[in-house]
């Protein structure tokens, strides 16, 4: 009872990365709280799904295997999770901040009249003293998220309602296989008792889901461009450099908005969060929202005509100059020295 529950997103029998990241995080929170981690897997043909969930940190896996639960639809998933939460009374419920989690979690929060915080980038355990009522709350979930367009960071708590619900951004937490995997317990959800015809009123007519073509999240080296690159044509220089370095190409929101590069390569708060060993920022001024998505890179090189660009403050190397001139030189001297 009162454990941490993680809703696991499943597409074509594959568990979403964000769910595994959440299990890893839930594991460390559970150690602090002295409770267990329970994963919830809803879908169809889920045989054996528990193995991976155990290895990333679940002690218990609730499996709801039913054709009506795949692909994801809001109402049937809400009904099952709501009933499960009412029965199991978790203290914390976590969801990925994806188009699934951000569709489902608010519906559940509303049904349970529980507090929900969206798009968290960090979760911690801590206490809270409420002056007005002279009450101390022990071991609350601190739900930490950027707010106001990323210009501030807010810590949100739910002192009185349970479960404490949060959606968490993909890629901000690390997934790690648990060193001491639990043998684990599988609990079968009796889906039939929770679903009714009214849950099935929305029907999926067509569905085209593509595997991710770009994988900037896990790239070791990223060459990223901003508005300062100047044009879609100039971005070719970034691809050239990326090719010789074995890197991926990313862009800031300004570059995406300007049409220089496609949206799936966007890095920053409204895009992907990355932490490569080398991040080469080309013509990126470094708005807070962008830095938040790459500040954990091991090494940052900034190429910018503006010596005062905010990104330079977090760069290891600052090269003052024009991208169009510097990138070809980087390629030339890389080739020269790598031989």
């Amino acid at each position: 009872m009162n454990n941490i529950f993680v809703y696991c997103e499943i597409e074509d029998s594959t568990i979403a990365d964000v769910s595994l990241e959440l299990l890893t995080k839930a594991r460390s929170l559970a150690l602090q709280l002295g409770c267990k981690v329970e994963a919830v897997a809803l879908g169809s043909e889920l045989n054996g799904i528990e193995k991976e969930l155990f290895s990333y940190g679940a002690d218990v896996v609730h499996v709801g295997d039913d054709k009506r639960l795949s692909p994801f639809l809001t109402l049937p998933h809400t009904s099952v999770i709501k009933a499960l939460f009412e029965q199991e009374k978790p203290q914390i419920g976590l969801f990925g901040a994806t188009s699934v989690g951000r569709d489902l979690a608010p519906r559940i929060a509303s049904a349970l009249k529980s507090g929900l915080t969206a798009d968290c980038t960090s979760l911690e355990i801590g206490d809270h003293y409420e002056k007005k009522t002279d009450t101390t709350y022990k071991n609350l979930l601190y739900q930490i998220r950027p707010a106001f367009g990323g210009n501030i960071v807010a810590t949100i708590i739910n002192p009185d309602t349970r479960p404490q619900l949060a959606t968490v951004r993909e890629g901000v937490m690390k997934k790690e296989v648990r060193p001491d995997p639990s043998k684990g317990e599988v609990k079968t959800i009796d889906v039939d008792t929770f679903l009714s015809d009214t849950d099935m009123v929305v029907k999926i007519i067509e569905r085209h889901i593509e595997n991710r073509k770009v994988n900037i999240k896990n790239a070791g080296i990223i060459v990223a461009g901003g508005y300062g690159v100047g044009s879609r044509g100039n971005f070719k220089l970034l691809y050239d450099l990326a090719e010789v370095l074995g890197a991926e190409v990313g862009g800031s929101r300004a570059a995406v908005d300007a049409g220089f590069i496609e949206h799936e390569r966007q890095i920053g708060q409204t895009g992907v969060t990355v932490r490569p060993k080398l991040y080469i920022a080309c013509g990126i001024s470094g708005q807070i929202q962008h830095r938040a998505g790459m500040a954990d890179s091991s090494m940052v090189i900034s190429v910018n005509t503006d010596p005062n660009a905010p990104i330079n403050q977090i760069a290891d190397y600052v090269i003052i100059g024009d991208v169009a001139e510097i990138l070809p030189k980087m390629i030339r001297y890389y080739k020269k020295n790598s031989k």
Binding site: T74, L104, P106, D119, H128, N151, V202, Y317, V318, I319
Partner: protein
Amino acid sequence: MKGLKIIVLAKQVPDTRNVGKDAMKADGTVNRAALEAIFNPEDLHALEQALRVKDRVKGSTVTILTMGPGRAAEVIREGMYRGADNGYLLTDRKFAGSDTLATSYAIGQAVRNLEPFDILFAGRQAIDGDTAQVGPQVAEKLGIPQVTYAEEVIDIKPKELRIKRRLERGVEVVAAPMPVLITVHSSAPSCRPRNARLVMKFKHAKTVSELQDAAEDYLELYNTRTYLKIKEWSADDIKVDDKALGLSGSPTKVKKIENVVFKAKESKVLSNSDADMDDLMKELIENHTIG
């Protein structure tokens, strides 16, 4: 097919996309006064979808519902300039401090107070909070299905809508019965511009509160032209339990607000000279960062 009753949930938000230096106070909180108040961008995409349904199904009406301070009436006028028929402003000090749960409760009660509707449109999320929670929570409060991340209403049948959704890795087309709540994604078509004729017609539309500063001759105009009346509702008008509003109705509390701080590094500044580029590449290869 008979006309559809459409409601658009819209919010006036500070323009967080263009935050200048003076927008942050010394204590790390936001100086709202320094930010322009705008029609939440995705709510405009939602309005466009509503107007397209109205264009296709004769006899349909579009009503804007917004919650906020008195000046949020501007959102309703902006909506009317583009083709909305009327609007309701939900305003009361009792709503202040509401989180998404308390907000959706209030909006849900307001919608119940309107005549029965077929489609509720809203933007996927507002740029001041970026939560995307109020839409689904209003749908839950009203006990109706939701279709989030919508890009386009592609077909309208007497009892069913076909809606294209834009997901992270693809698209999905769903069929949903009415009444339904649809949240619209920024990949949907932009909203049409203001219509000059409608601007002339509605620029003097006002809420009761705004009337207080109005001149006598305006009042005469106002009383003869009913379309100039933007309805204004307080908490008492929508039959709510006060405890479920504002801070007391909000399970989430803000514990702390901080500035975003990045650890500054000591950077090595290089020129674009060949010698510097040569040295840099040697260094990166030697310490195994690349190569």
